[in-house]
């Protein structure tokens, strides 16, 4: 299916913008334009006359964007996304996902909804991706701190690596804390006490 609606995606996060673009292209929307530089907003809208505008809600220029609609002299004036103003659920889903959309007045809801739904799902997927990345990063950081704590125990108590790990794990279990927290405490304490400057 090819849909001729033109879609403008405004997102200063280039990675996320391209994720949305790919989704729209896959779904058959061939007229997708990305905009990262906010100084180009007015001109881009004038030139491309988008039917639908998708923007991330963290973008501080939303007020500017809405004022441009108010000034637009064309008949096809974009309005807030919610063609069917009673659709509270759609509004909530979009705000929760961190995206907002504006749609040219008079477009039928059936034609617009798939685009808005697509933007919402891609925004959600993107924030899941960002969260996964964050978790992976923090896992890596945890592993590093546990390695340093093991090193401290091996040197100061003459333990093997396995024994050092078991000591950390048992302490964590007894205190009902995470191993990485115990490791962090040990590294911090050691940096205060250690005259050899182990952790400086």
């Amino acid at each position: 299916m090819v849909d001729l609606l033109s879609v403008l995606v405004i997102d200063e996060n280039r990675l996320r913008a391209s994720v949305i673009e790919a989704g729209l292209l896959d779904a058959g929307y061939k007229r997708v334009r990305l905009l990262h530089d906010m100084r180009e907003i007015a001109r881009t809208i004038e030139e491309t006359r988008p039917d639908v505008i998708v923007i991330d809600i963290e973008n501080p220029n939303r007020d500017m964007l809405e004022s441009i609609f108010a000034l637009t002299r064309t008949v096809r004036r974009p309005i807030a996304m919610f063609v069917d103003r009673s659709d509270q659920y759609a509004i909530e889903a979009a705000v929760d996902a961190g995206v907002s959309a504006y749609v040219v007045d008079g477009l039928k809801q059936e034609r617009v909804k798939p685009i808005v739904d697509m933007a919402i799902s891609r925004f959600k997927a993107f924030s899941r991706m960002a969260q996964d990345l964050e978790e992976a990063r923090s896992e890596l950081a945890d592993r590093k701190i546990v390695d340093r704590a093991k090193g401290i125990l091996m040197r100061s108590k003459g333990l093997s690596e396995d024994e050092a790990y078991r000591l950390l794990r048992n302490t964590a279990m007894n205190q009902n804390r995470k191993i990485s927290d115990i490791a962090q405490s040990l590294v911090t304490a050691s940096s205060l006490l250690d005259s050899e400057g182990e952790t400086q």
């Binding site: 100084r39 809600i57 963290e58 973008n59 501080p60 220029n61 939303r62 007020d63 500017m64 809405e66 004022s67 441009i68 108010a70 309005i79 807030a80 919610f82 103003r85 509270q88 509004i91 909530e92 705000v95 929760d96 907002s100």
Partner: protein, 410 residues
């Protein structure tokens, strides 16, 4: 009181000086004393404040004073049922122009720009010269179409014979980006709330040429927007919140607390700026206004002069300006809607046992007081004014139709 016994209220705000009352209510414990667990969420646009209130994320919010009026007239991009039972202070804005425009104005004026009138006439002269030399129209920015900034800037321009749409371009720029836009030459001037004028001055990007308090002394700026649904379902809790905010406003108005307040607001999760940038607006001591150090009287009033009272005459003045600048058609039937967006009755009801002086009237003639004047109050003594417009005009809400006719723009 245990945290679990507190009633949670979610509030949105933008990083501006006049978020001070909300921040203080949380940080100094005033909300907690009223049994409220106040959650503050910093937002990046007024559109977000509106949308997140519309979907129920926010019960209350820091709002531009004309926003509830625009919503009541159906001008909001999405429908929003919101009321303003309290104002969040008076004043707090200024008009800043780029250094090159300031230089041109000084040259055109052939003398010091010693008042907003002199500055306006110098700007008018500069614009005329620019038209002759064929330079592009200067671009001025405000933060939102339905904002005190937009109306006070236009008021000041028009009173100086400058017609915003004809003589210059007006655009919207978010407050934290104003100084950069001025520096980059994208805009030539702006009207914005503090601390963003002081930031432009500190970055050597611009010169403050008029303050809101000079254009209209003791004029309204932000309100506490309250979701009508929240106000209906929890009148007692809302009363508690208003008392907490009024105590916070009193604290903010005490000069002895200004250093602490600046420290508080400068934190990363609030305004996230050096506290030096917040000091001028709180003390009124500006390093530069129109080229010289300046003490600005009543620059920002958080509490004195009934600064938290939601005057219906303020709502009606905003409506007169919406009509004046073509945002909405004049309609006598709209006056009730406009009036109903501001709720002094809720304010009075909540504060009646606090022993504070509260205005007895809900509306007043704006611009009539030349000096601080005792006025009728529910209890105690209340001083209002001076509250003049810089051009000596008076707004009598009972004469609103004539006021609008007299201001008609061709």
């Amino acid at each position: 009181m245990k945290a679990s016994d507190l009633f949670p209220i979610h509030a949105g705000f933008l990083p501006l000086l006049d978020s001070a009352i909300l921040v203080t209510a949380l940080e100094r414990g005033f909300a907690r004393e009223e049994g409220i667990d106040l959650h503050l969420a910093r937002e990046t646009s007024w559109a977000n404040i509106r949308d997140r209130m519309a979907v129920g994320h926010f019960d209350v919010a820091h709002m531009l004073a004309p926003m509830p009026i625009a919503a009541s007239l159906g001008l909001s991009q999405i429908p929003l049922n919101v009321i303003a039972p309290m104002a969040l202070g008076l004043g707090g804005n200024a008009v800043t122009v780029s250094k090159s425009l300031h230089n041109a104005m000084v040259a055109a004026n052939q003398g010091p720009l010693d008042s907003p009138l002199a500055a306006g006439s110098a700007l008018n002269q500069t614009l005329k010269e620019r038209i002759q030399t064929g330079e592009r129209k200067p671009v001025f920015a405000v933060v939102h179409p339905y904002s005190g900034h937009n109306y006070e800037l236009r008021y000041w321009l028009a009173a100086n014979g400058i017609m915003p749409e004809r003589d210059l371009d007006l655009v919207i720029v978010p407050p934290p980006l104003m100084s950069d836009a001025l520096k980059a030459g994208t805009i030539d001037g702006f009207c914005v709330g503090e601390p963003w004028n002081s930031v432009a001055v500190a970055q050597d990007a611009g010169v403050i040429i008029a303050t809101k308090s000079e254009i209209w002394r003791c004029s309204p700026e932000k309100v506490l927007g309250v979701s009508a649904q929240f106000a209906d379902s929890h009148p007692e809790i809302l009363g508690g919140l208003l008392r907490a905010l009024v105590r916070a406003a009193i604290w903010c108005g005490d000069a002895g607390n200004h250093d602490d307040l600046a420290t508080l607001l400068s934190q990363p999760h609030y305004i996230n700026l050096d506290k030096m940038r917040l000091a001028p607006a709180l003390s009124g001591q500006f390093p530069v206004v129109r080229g010289t150090p300046h003490h600005v009287e009543d620059f920002f009033l958080p509490f004195e002069r009934a600064a938290t009272f939601p005057w219906k005459s303020h709502a009606l003045w905003f409506y007169s300006q919406m009509v004046r600048w073509g945002q909405v058609e004049w309609n006598a039937a709209s006056l009730d809607k406009v009036s109903a967006a501001y709720r002094p009755d809720i304010y009075r009801g909540a504060l009646k046992h606090m022993g504070l002086a509260i205005p007895a009237a809900s509306s007043k003639v704006e611009g009539a007081l030349e000096r601080p004047t005792p006025v009728g109050s529910v209890q105690g003594t209340l001083l209002l004014g001076p509250d003049g417009f810089f051009d000596g005009q008076i707004f009598d809400p009972d004469e609103i139709e004539n006021y609008i006719k007299a201001q008609a723009v061709d």
